[in-house]
């Protein structure tokens, strides 16, 4: 019982620390790719301390509460993910719950952005939700394939099954699904080529245009959580999870570095082009993966 409570408290803290570390690592890594020195790795922490010391301007009650809602959604999703040990809330419906609650984050931002009276916010949040629509279709097919292959909905059992056999990305039925998940990973993370929703040059950073001070700090924390969730889901479902947290974090680091390399060289796709891409090849691959795993299982 006490162990459970400790896990409940420790999981979001680990997710926050790892997420913020990934944000700083992203800036340093991108700078090195550009042949320059970058900021120190703890630069997001410095930014957040500065943001908490700034006096911000609020636009109303829903403006504050929307951010809290999206942050709460992200923290709840973290509690469902196994973190190298067992997950604190490891019920039997892990994957479906994550699929639903993962959408609370953009929804919370939409609620809070509705009260900021800036048209850039509406453009940014509409693009973010359309992008969510874009990657949800292949994501659903991928999760269905995983569920069919392992005959379970719980992520913990998927991880245990992979620990005893091999990684599912190199096993035959789920190879196509894993490839498809890797193709839509930049869209879920919100990095280039899919960062159309927070484009600083075009729509003045979209839905973060009216956030200053502590609101921006909360949005940065929420961004850190989303980073952690997306990569942790990939590692759990396709790269075998891990028996202890250290191996788990090392695997997450590898995947994140690959994503950053893609981020450094690609330009930004428009939202129409992004949806056309997301509904073409990744969906096709995920669909084929689903059919293959159905055929093999029956």
């Amino acid at each position: 019982m006490v162990a459970k409570i400790i896990q409940l408290i420790l999981s979001p803290i680990i997710a926050l620390v790892v997420g913020v570390f990934f944000l700083g690592l992203a800036r340093k890594f991108m700078a090195r790719i550009h042949w320059r020195y970058g900021p120190p790795i703890i630069q997001p922490v410095i930014d957040m301390i500065r943001l908490f010391y700034q006096k911000s301007v609020s636009h109303g009650r829903m403006f504050d509460l929307g951010i809290v809602l999206s942050l709460a959604g992200s923290i709840v999703v973290v509690l469902f993910l196994p973190l190298g040990g067992t997950a604190p809330l490891s019920g039997s419906g892990g994957m479906l719950v994550i699929l639903y609650i993962m959408l609370l984050a953009p929804l919370g931002m939409a609620i809070s952005g509705g009260q900021g009276a800036n048209p850039n916010i509406s453009i940014g949040i509409s693009r973010k939700l359309i992008l969510a629509l874009g990657y949800e279709v292949p994501l659903l097919l991928i999760l269905l394939a995983v569920m069919t292959h392992y005959k379970t909905i719980s992520i913990v059992q998927v991880v245990n099954a992979q620990q005893s056999t091999t990684w599912s990305i190199i096993s035959l039925p789920l190879f196509l699904s894993g490839l498809s998940y890797f193709l839509i990973l930049p869209a879920i993370l919100g990095i280039r080529p899919f960062d159309v929703s927070t484009a600083p040059q075009e729509i003045s950073s979209g839905l973060m245009v009216e956030y200053g001070g502590k609101y921006l700090a909360m949005v940065t924390i929420e961004h850190a959580f989303v980073l952690f969730i997306s990569i942790a889901l990939f590692v759990n479902l396709f790269l075998g999870g891990a028996a202890n947290p250290v191996t788990f974090l090392v695997k997450m680091l590898m995947v994140f570095m690959l994503g950053l390399c893609i981020n450094a060289v690609f330009p930004r796709l428009r939202i129409k082009q992004a949806i056309k891409y997301l509904w073409k090849w990744p969906t096709l691959l995920a669909f084929l993966g689903l059919i293959v795993s159905l055929v093999i299982r029956s």
Binding site: Q43, I46, I49, R50, Y53
Partner: protein, 190 residues
């Protein structure tokens, strides 16, 4: 650069954090903006000082007024400056905001920007080189340490004088006064 001294961080975190995370709003005022892209790209990297461009005034900390200020631009500058959250720092760039520079006898530019917006420091030059911009950033750190970079406090204290000057230069202003006479900020600022 004392970013690595942990004891200083624990003693006064607000000053250290304001120093090493100066987000400059990307407002391209005049001809001096041509010096900013070399500063923030790979050759003279400003990101290792913590200075990156921010897209909106609400996320920004530092306002660089680069180049000459015409009367229409002054309107936009005042509105942008008043949207930034405190504490905020402004730096005048080039010789045109100092005393008019090359346009000292022009019918449409503002000669002394200090009468309309509080300025914390000036960088002389037409245009200053990127090395001069970095010297200015480190000088701003020294000012923040000694608590002499208090432009925003001066703005709050002398708001009526600033607003009178702004009305003399621009005519009628479309936005209401930011601070009431009793030194309380308008709106629900927190």
């Amino acid at each position: 650069m004392d970013r690595n001294k942990i004891t200083k961080w624990l003693k006064e975190p607000a000053k250290m954090a304001n120093k090493y995370s100066l987000h400059a709003i990307y407002f391209c005022t005049g001809c001096g903006i041509i010096e900013i892209p070399p500063v923030i790209t790979a050759r003279w990297d400003a990101e290792r000082f913590g200075v990156i461009p921010a897209a909106t005034p609400r996320q920004a900390n530092l306002f660089l007024i680069t180049g000459y200020v015409s009367v229409k631009t002054l309107r936009a500058i005042i509105r942008t400056y008043e949207q930034m959250p405190e504490p905020k720092y402004t730096v005048g760039f080039g010789s045109c905001p100092i005393n008019g520079g090359m346009y000292w006898d022009s019918y449409n530019t503002i000669k002394h920007l200090d009468k309309y917006i509080p300025i914390d420091g000036w960088i002389a030059g037409c245009m200053p080189r990127p090395e001069a911009i970095f010297i200015a950033v480190t000088h701003l750190w020294t000012l923040i340490d000694k608590e002499m970079a208090n432009g925003y406090i001066r703005y709050r204290k002398n708001y009526e004088s600033y607003r009178r000057n702004q009305e003399l230069a621009l005519g009628k202003l479309e936005w209401p006064p930011l601070y009431k006479a009793s030194e309380e900020p308008q709106g629900n600022e927190q």
